[in-house]
Symmetry: C2
Subunit: 322 residues, 2 copies
C-alpha cells in the first residue's frame, strides 16, 4: 500500500505538504493541493483517520459505561448521548460492565491510555474515589449526586427528594405499609433512596419492605410472588423502574390483586409503557440527561460542573385514596 | 509530558528498547525491561494504547450500526456483541443512525479510514451494493439474508420461512383475515416477509392488512385504534416485534377486544414480555446472533461466511381455534 512518502514523490511535493493537505492546513497552494489529491486518488490512498486524530491529540471517542445495554433506562441515556456525540463529530465507545469491577477498571484504563477523550459513567460498582483518581487523564462525568466532588462532574436528579415526595404522597393518600423495589441496593442513587425511606420510617413507623435486584418486566412477577408468601403485605410500592412497575401491574392483574385498592404502585422514568398502562410515575428527563452528560464530558474548560435536573410526579391510575 | 525519547534517556537504553517493552516484545533483557518500567513509573508515563494498537495495524474497535439503541431487539444484539467483544479484547463503537443515510455513510467511512477494524450492520437503509463496495477496507457483517453476496458476510434468520409458517399455522386454525405489523416496510428482511405474505394471499385470497412504522409498546395502541376504524377488520395479526405485540394485547384488553377470539396475535423475538403476557411468538436467538456476528467480523480468514440461525414457534395463549 502507498504511504505518505510515496504520495509525496508522486505529487512532486514534500512529505510536509502531503501532511498539510490531509490535515486541511491552510498554507498549501491550490496547485500543490490538487497534485496531492490526484496522487492519493490514483492509488486509492486512504487517510488513517485515527492517526490524524491522534496526531491532533484526540481520539474523538467518548467512552460510555453502562451495566446493561438492553435495559430501557440505559437505552434512553445512550440514545441521548449518541445523538449529541454525532452532532459534534464524536463517536461513542460502549463499555458494558454488568457491574463487573474488571470491566469498570478497563474503562478507566482506556481513559488513562488515551483511547478515549472522556468518560461518561452511567452507573458503577467501583468506588467514586477510585474513579476520581483517573480524572487527571480526562473529563469524567457520573449520573449521580457528586456535587461535593472537585474532580468528577455530574448530572443527576435528587433521588432523596423524589423518594421523600413519593412516600409523603402515599402517606397523605392513607397508605400505611409502603415498600420499595430497586435494582441493586449499592451505589449512590440507592443510598439516597434508602436514606429517604429510613427517614420516613423514623417519622411514620411501619414494617419495612425492600425488594432488590429488579431490572426487567419479568422481575415484576417475582415481586408479586414474593409478596403473596408474606404474612403481612405492603399496601403500596415505589418501583424505581417503570418497566418493573408494568411487570408488577401485569402480575397483579393475573393474580387478582386489585391496583390501587390492594396495592398502589408508583414507577420512575415515565417510559411509554407507564403512559400506556396508566401507571403513576415520576418523570425523569433522560434525553435531556444524555444531552447534558455529553455537554459536560466534551466541555473544553477545566471547570468541573454539577447539574441537577428536575423531576415531576405524573398522576395516573395506580394510586387511589384509601 | 515525557515522551519515548525521554524515557530511553532516563533508562539508558535505545528508543527501540523502550518501544519493545511497551509492546511486550520478547527480545529484551530483564534488566533493561526493569530500567524502562522504572523510568516510566517515575514520571507516570502513560502508554497511548491507541498509538500502540495503531502501530500494530489495528484499532481493536468494532463498529456496530443500529437504527435505535433503545429498542429492546437491538439492545439484545448489542449485549451479545459487546459480551463477545470484551472477551476478545475488542471494544464496540456504537453508531446510531435512525436510518439516516449520512450516518450510515459515516460508519462506512470509519471503516475506510481505519478507525474501526470491522463493521456489524444490524439494519440499514443504504443499498447493500454500496455497503459491499467498502468490504475491501475491512470485514462487514449484516443481519439479513445476504447468502449470495461474495464480499459481505451475514448472520440471519429466514424471514420468508418464518412468515410462511406463521401464516399457514393461522390458516390451519381457521383464521381467514390475517394481517401483519412491521417496523419499516423497506429493507431486506421486510422484503422477504412481504413476499411470503403476497405468496400466501395468492394461495388463499383475502383482503390485505399491513400496518407499518411500528417499533415500540405504545405503537400497539395506534394499531388497535386504526383497526377500530376499519369496516372490515383483521382476525389475526403477525407482529414482527414482541414489544409491539404486547402493546396490541394491552390495548385490546382496554378496548374490550377479546384475544384470541376476536383477534389472534403472533409475536416475534420471544422477549421476556411475551412469556409474561402469554403471547404466542417465534423465538429468535438474539444472543447467539450477537455472538455469531462478532465471530464473523473478527474472523481473521478472508473467507466470507453466511450463517442461518433456526427459529422456533412458541405456542402460548394469543392464538386459539376458530
Amino acid at each position: 500500500m502507498a504511504n505518505i512518502r510515496d504520495i509525496a514523490k508522486m505529487a512532486g511535493v514534500s512529505v510536509t505538504t502531503v501532511s498539510r493537505v490531509i490535515n486541511n492546513h491552510p498554507y498549501v497552494t491550490e496547485e500543490k493541493r490538487e497534485a496531492v489529491q490526484e496522487a492519493m486518488n490514483s492509488v486509492d490512498y486512504q487517510v488513517n483517520r485515527t492517526a490524524v486524530n491522534l496526531s491532533q491529540g484526540s481520539s474523538k471517542l467518548i467512552g460510555v459505561v453502562v451495566p446493561f445495554a438492553k435495559h430501557p433506562y440505559f437505552g434512553l441515556l445512550i440514545e441521548g448521548i449518541t445523538d449529541q456525540a454525532a452532532e459534534h463529530q464524536y463517536h461513542v465507545l460502549l463499555i458494558q460492565t454488568k457491574y463487573n469491577l474488571d470491566r469498570e477498571q478497563e474503562a478507566l484504563d482506556m481513559l488513562k491510555h488515551k483511547q478515549i477523550d472522556g468518560l461518561i459513567i452511567c452507573s458503577h460498582q467501583i468506588e467514586l474515589s477510585v474513579i476520581e483518581s483517573y480524572s487527571r487523564y480526562g473529563k469524567i462525568v457520573v449520573c449521580e449526586n457528586a456535587a461535593d466532588n472537585q474532580n468528577v462532574a455530574s448530572v443527576f436528579v435528587d433521588h432523596y427528594q423524589s423518594f421523600n415526595n413519593a412516600l409523603n404522597y402515599l402517606h397523605q393518600k392513607n397508605y400505611k405499609r409502603i415498600g420499595y423495589c430497586i435494582g441493586r441496593n449499592s451505589g449512590s442513587n440507592s443510598y439516597f433512596r434508602h436514606k429517604a425511606y429510613q427517614d420516613f420510617l423514623g417519622q411514620h413507623p411501619q414494617q419495612s419492605f425492600i425488594f432488590d435486584n429488579n431490572y426487567y418486566f419479568e422481575d415484576g412477577q417475582t415481586i408479586v410472588e414474593q409478596i403473596s408468601h408474606l404474612k403481612s403485605k405492603p399496601d403500596a410500592l415505589l418501583v424505581t423502574s417503570d418497566v418493573v412497575a408494568a411487570g408488577i401491574l401485569t402480575a397483579c392483574n393475573h393474580a387478582g390483586t386489585k391496583v390501587p385498592d390492594d396495592l398502589a404502585i408508583i414507577g420512575f422514568d415515565n417510559q411509554p409503557i407507564a403512559k400506556m398502562m396508566g401507571i403513576t410515575t415520576f418523570e425523569i428527563p433522560h434525553t435531556t440527561m444524555g444531552v447534558k452528560l455529553f455537554q459536560q464530558v466534551s466541555n473544553q474548560s477545566s471547570a468541573v460542573q454539577h447539574e441537577q435536573l428536575p423531576i415531576t410526579l405524573i398522576e395516573r391510575n395506580t394510586v387511589g385514596k384509601r
